[in-house]
């Protein structure tokens, strides 16, 4: 008995001693004092106690740059340009940076520690991102695994964004803050509410959370983010290609487009696996009746028996796109879906003579 107590006591004692040594060492060794963080030539400036990561410092001062993994260095979203005070590129960053990025000082904010005065450059767009609180006003299942969620904005009560941009939803109770990106599917002119499409991923933190919340529950998200930029030129044809649950940015783009230019031409291509995955079809066919410039194509990629009544396309969506593009039209394209789909469609669009800069994509 005394042996067991002695063993427990000794183990605890040694652990405590080691922890105490480490704490003392930390307080004496790791002390960087107060550091000055300056963003975009001083347009935003704040002071930060050294020793934390740049991402933590930015979030603490309400600069919400995108970050999906919560600072673990696994998503590569939190890229910023560090002009001074960032030190060398770390091995943990190299998988996410290409050569030209490394040369020009792009770093992952979650890996850079604030140890001295830091100068940063962040796209001005991101500085407008803010933190929002919203309440779930309604929800329904679009397919067996995609939930459509309508949120009323509480604080601030308005969200200005460009069609195709996304927000990052905070998953609560995970210790470290975990954020996941979802595109806004409600139209950009509808500034008091935000609609998201969430596909349930088994074991996924955010999708499980967003599928479980009920009407009246509040969520926190930051945004808007994203570089989708709709062309103002009324002659430009808009091509939207989505797959799986990649409908959200397309819905926003199409609704916003026809609110402003009822005559514009726009085509929506949407790829699904089976009939059960098809949604919004009536909505778009209805829109097409009201706006002759709009055309919608759904395609099923999986061969199943219930397809007998299917009157849309069959096969992968990039083949549908390839069949329908006449040459010589000025176009802008927005792609959102699985990576393989985005790659295949990009290939088709480039082959049709489009410029890379006119193709915006969001692969997941």
């Amino acid at each position: 008995m005394s042996m067991i107590l002695l063993a427990i006591g000794l183990t605890t004692g040694v652990f405590l001693l080691l922890a105490a040594v480490l704490l003392v060492a930390e307080s004496h060794l790791i002390n960087y004092g107060t550091c000055q963080v300056s963003i975009n030539d001083g347009s935003v400036e704040f002071e930060q106690q050294g020793g934390v990561t740049l991402l933590e410092a930015l979030y603490a001062h309400k600069v919400f740059i995108p970050s999906a993994c919560g600072g673990k260095g696994t998503c590569g979203y939190c890229k910023v340009r560090v002009l001074a005070g960032g030190g060398d590129v770390l091995p943990t960053e190299t998988p996410y940076l290409n050569r030209s990025e490394m040369r020009t000082g792009i770093r992952l904010a979650c890996q850079v520690k604030v140890k001295s005065d830091v100068q940063l450059e962040i796209p001005a767009d991101l500085l407008t991102a803010r933190e929002f609180r919203a309440r779930l006003a309604g929800a329904r299942m679009l397919t067996p695994d995609i939930r459509e969620l309508d949120f009323d904005l509480l604080d601030p009560s308005q969200l200005e964004h460009r069609p195709g941009q996304y927000v990052q939803v905070l998953v609560p109770d995970e210790g470290d803050p975990v954020y996941r990106a979802y595109s806004i599917s409600s139209a950009a002119f509808d500034q008091n509410r935000v609609q998201l499409h969430v596909r349930l991923i088994p074991g996924g933190l955010a999708s499980t959370y967003l599928h479980a919340i009920a009407e009246g529950d509040e969520i926190v998200f930051t945004g808007p983010y994203g570089d989708f930029r709709l062309s103002d030129d009324p002659e430009t044809e808009i091509i939207c290609v989505g797959g799986g649950c990649g409908m959200a940015p397309m819905a926003n783009i199409i609704e916003s487009l026809y609110r402003r230019w009822p005559e514009r031409t726009c085509r929506l291509f949407f790829g699904c696996r089976t009939v059960a995955d098809v949604f919004y079809r009536e909505r778009w066919e209805d829109l097409a009746r009201r706006h002759p410039g709009f055309q919608v194509v759904y395609a099923l990629s999986a061969e199943t028996d219930d397809d007998a009544s299917w009157d849309g396309d069959k096969g992968f969506i990039h083949l549908s796109v390839a069949r329908r593009l006449e040459p010589g039209v000025k176009r802008q394209a927005f792609l959102c879906g699985p990576e393989a789909m985005v790659e295949a469609v990009t290939g088709v669009l480039l082959a049709s003579g489009m410029e890379k800069t006119d193709i915006f994509n969001d692969a997941f």
Binding site: A7, L10, T11, A19, L29, I30, G87, L90
Partner: protein, 196 residues
């Protein structure tokens, strides 16, 4: 008490009883961090330093605390705790006084915590009943042996980049084969010194 001279232990643990090539401990970092000579050297040097210090610390802990109290069975858990804490401490010291070296070692430094070769050396020291000086020599030799093996591997891998490796063997498979061949050549040293 083990009668072997510390110098013999030092030489033996580098060549004949190389912790990596004879004991096959610490394989994970050996395979993961041997793609470039530079990082291999950084990791090897860090492992050597940590090994010397933790072996000595663990020797003191074992013979002056655990043996008198009759709690030798706690060796495993306490050795690991000492190693983990020491690596943290070293990390802080290096970060404070040589940020350059800290960045050069990067992720490899914390990874040393879970390098089984380091725990292995501490445990062998107990099994073989070494005294303080012998333990320090064993730690130093074990570390240098690790450094030697990982540098050899890194050198070969840099060369291998230009060779035509059959497709099914590319990657880890060819590295395991190469490790085996290096280990066999090190067996040639085995006749020189007999250590137990």
């Amino acid at each position: 008490m083990n009668p072997t001279s510390p110098l013999v232990i030092l030489a033996a643990s580098i060549l004949t009883n190389n912790i990596l090539l004879a004991g096959f401990l610490g394989m994970c970092s050996f395979l993961a961090c041997s793609s470039r000579l530079e990082t291999a050297f950084g990791l090897g040097a860090a492992v050597t330093f940590v090994m010397v210090c933790t072996t000595t610390l663990n020797y003191l802990l074992y013979h002056y605390v655990l043996v008198p109290l009759g709690l030798e069975f706690l060796a495993y858990i306490l050795f690991i705790a000492v190693i983990a804490a020491f690596v943290q401490f070293v990390e802080m010291v290096i970060e404070r006084f040589s940020p350059k070296l800290y960045h050069a070692l990067g992720i490899f430094l914390p990874l040393i915590t879970v390098n089984c070769a380091i725990l292995g050396v501490s445990l062998f020291m107990v099994i073989r009943d070494y005294n303080g000086l012998q333990s320090a020599a064993f730690g130093l030799g074990g570390g240098l042996g690790f450094l030697l093996a990982i540098m050899l591997m890194a050198g070969l891998r840099e060369k291998m980049g230009y060779s035509n490796v059959p497709v099914p063997l590319r990657g880890t498979a060819i590295m395991m084969l190469v490790t085996g061949v290096i280990a066999m050549t090190f067996m040639g040293f085995a006749g020189m010194i007999k250590v137990q």
